[in-house]
Amino acid sequence: MERFFAKIGNYVIAGLSNAGHGTMLLRAIFRETPHIWKMRREVLVQMHVVLIGSMPLVIVTSVFVGAVTAVQAVYQMQALVPMKFLGVMISKTVFIELGPVLMALVVGSRLCAFYAAELGTMKVTEQLDAMNIMAIDPVRYLAMPRFWASVLMIPVVTIFADAVAVFGGYTISVMTLDISSGVFIEGLQLFYKHSDILGGLIKSVVFGGIIALSGIFNGFHTQGGAEGVGHSTMTAVVASCLSVLVADYFLAIILFQIIFQK
């Protein structure tokens, strides 16, 4: 029993320690942000990694998310809700929740794993030490460009994913669910609020930060060899996914129960 509580205690201490170190890393990234213009080439390279590299994944995921949402919405609405509300149901679900969260989980996992594995390999092969010896701060040279690339590009990916998902829902509705094009498009415009898209985008900005921070933090703290890189990559993805889901809840309260409610 004692060992059980000791183990729990160790997890709590490790969690708090990581949260503290993560906050310090975030502070260091903000401290180095004024150098972003000097690092613009690296920021653009990382933006390319997020945006262009993720496109096939984003398109496939979003098309099927839209399609599944349409199929299941029709099933739930049968005999209860007029089909003219199908468009609004799909769009609101995608804009507010599915777009930002699924992109943060799918694209975010890809990106987070990439950052953790890349930086973790640099750590275990002493490339980070070499950078330090050269009086080049790895936070400025590596962390800051990756962080801002993620924060700026995850919302762009999300907007694109929203559009593709709605298009996927429209296509499936019209082609296989006997919903007319006019009814679906009319439904899209019903109850439309800018705050739906804005709320989703604010979420994806925060998620972009969480994803990058988790990947960079775990990469920088990698220990050992190949196994260490594997472990830190796995930890980074798990931490990123869990943090996104927890943050999603709190953002939902802040955005949709407090800010946009007024």
Binding site: T121, Q127, D129, A130, M131, I133, M134, A135, D137
Partner: protein
């Protein structure tokens, strides 16, 4: 039957006033990783302009000692002065300035995978010199020529052999004309001819640029060739220091066992 060895006391490696010493002073440095004590109150002096070779068995903490000099590792106890400045007291900005005086050749070269050789070598100049890209490229090529890598500037590290990687890393270490160069196993894993070429380069840099070199190795042929002075690290302490001739002629049982490569002796076999 257990053999008793007559091991002399460690050499005195202390100075009265470290702040007045022009080289590097390592005083009472201890470091452990988990339960493993690697360095135990280690003292060492490195004079300005000399080539000091630190020898010792694998896992004795030679690389750990080297990394403490540039504060890549923080000691659990003890202090280090570089040119009279205590590095553990330095702010990060001061430390970064101090590090510009150093070049470091890592055991595994530690070239940046994503950059070609020229960019690897020129990166420090890009960050700190304010020079034009053409001038930086010229200087990088000059350093690469110095280490015999004239046609490899646009290659990625993955396209280089082990010896070429080491030479490229050496070109990177000298690009800012450092006052100190730290070499972590510079000849390990190289064929004898490439290893000897690296030794010649170390001597050339010391003669032409007057750099202070600290070399960690267990390659005795290399050590005898490049050293002005040698220090032996064993069980976390410096157990012997002396010139090359003093090392060759010493009857210190640990040093004798090490340079003769004998499995019997006070160092043990495993």
């Amino acid at each position: 039957m257990k053999v008793e060895y007559n091991i002399p006391p460690p050499p005195d490696q202390k100075v009265a006033d470290p702040t007045a010493f022009s080289g590097i002073v390592i005083e009472g440095v201890s470091k452990s990783f988990g339960p493993k004590q690697v360095l135990t109150e280690t003292d060492l002096l490195i004079n300005k302009g000399e080539t000091l070779v630190v020898i010792g068995r694998s896992g004795e903490g030679k690389s750990v000692l080297l990394k403490h000099i540039v504060r890549l590792l923080e000691p659990d106890a003890g202090r280090i002065w570089v040119e009279g400045e205590e590095i553990s007291e330095m702010e990060m900005s001061e430390l970064m300035e101090m590090r510009k005086k150093f070049g470091f050749l890592f055991q595994g070269a530690a070239l940046f995978d994503s950059m070609n050789v020229c960019k690897n070598v020129g990166l420090m100049l890009e960050e700190h010199s304010g020079w034009s890209m053409d001038k930086i490229k010229d200087r990088a090529c000059e350093c690469l020529a110095l280490v015999g890598l004239t046609d490899s500037d646009d290659k990625l590290p993955s396209e280089l052999s082990g010896g070429m990687k080491k030479r490229a890393a050496l070109a990177r270490a000298i690009v800012m004309e450092p006052e100190y160069i730290l070499y972590d196993e510079p000849t390990t894993g190289l064929d004898p001819i490439t290893g000897d070429a690296i030794n010649d380069l170390i001597i050339k840099l010391q003669k032409e640029l007057g750099v202070t070199s600290i070399i960690v190795t267990h390659d005795m042929a290399s050590a005898f060739k490049v050293a002005d002075r040698m220090a032996m690290l064993s069980r976390g302490k410096i157990v012997f220091t002396g010139t090359v001739d003093e090392v060759r002629n010493t009857d210190h049982p640990m040093v004798r066992q090490f340079i003769e490569g004998n499995s019997q002796g006070p160092l043990g076999a495993f």
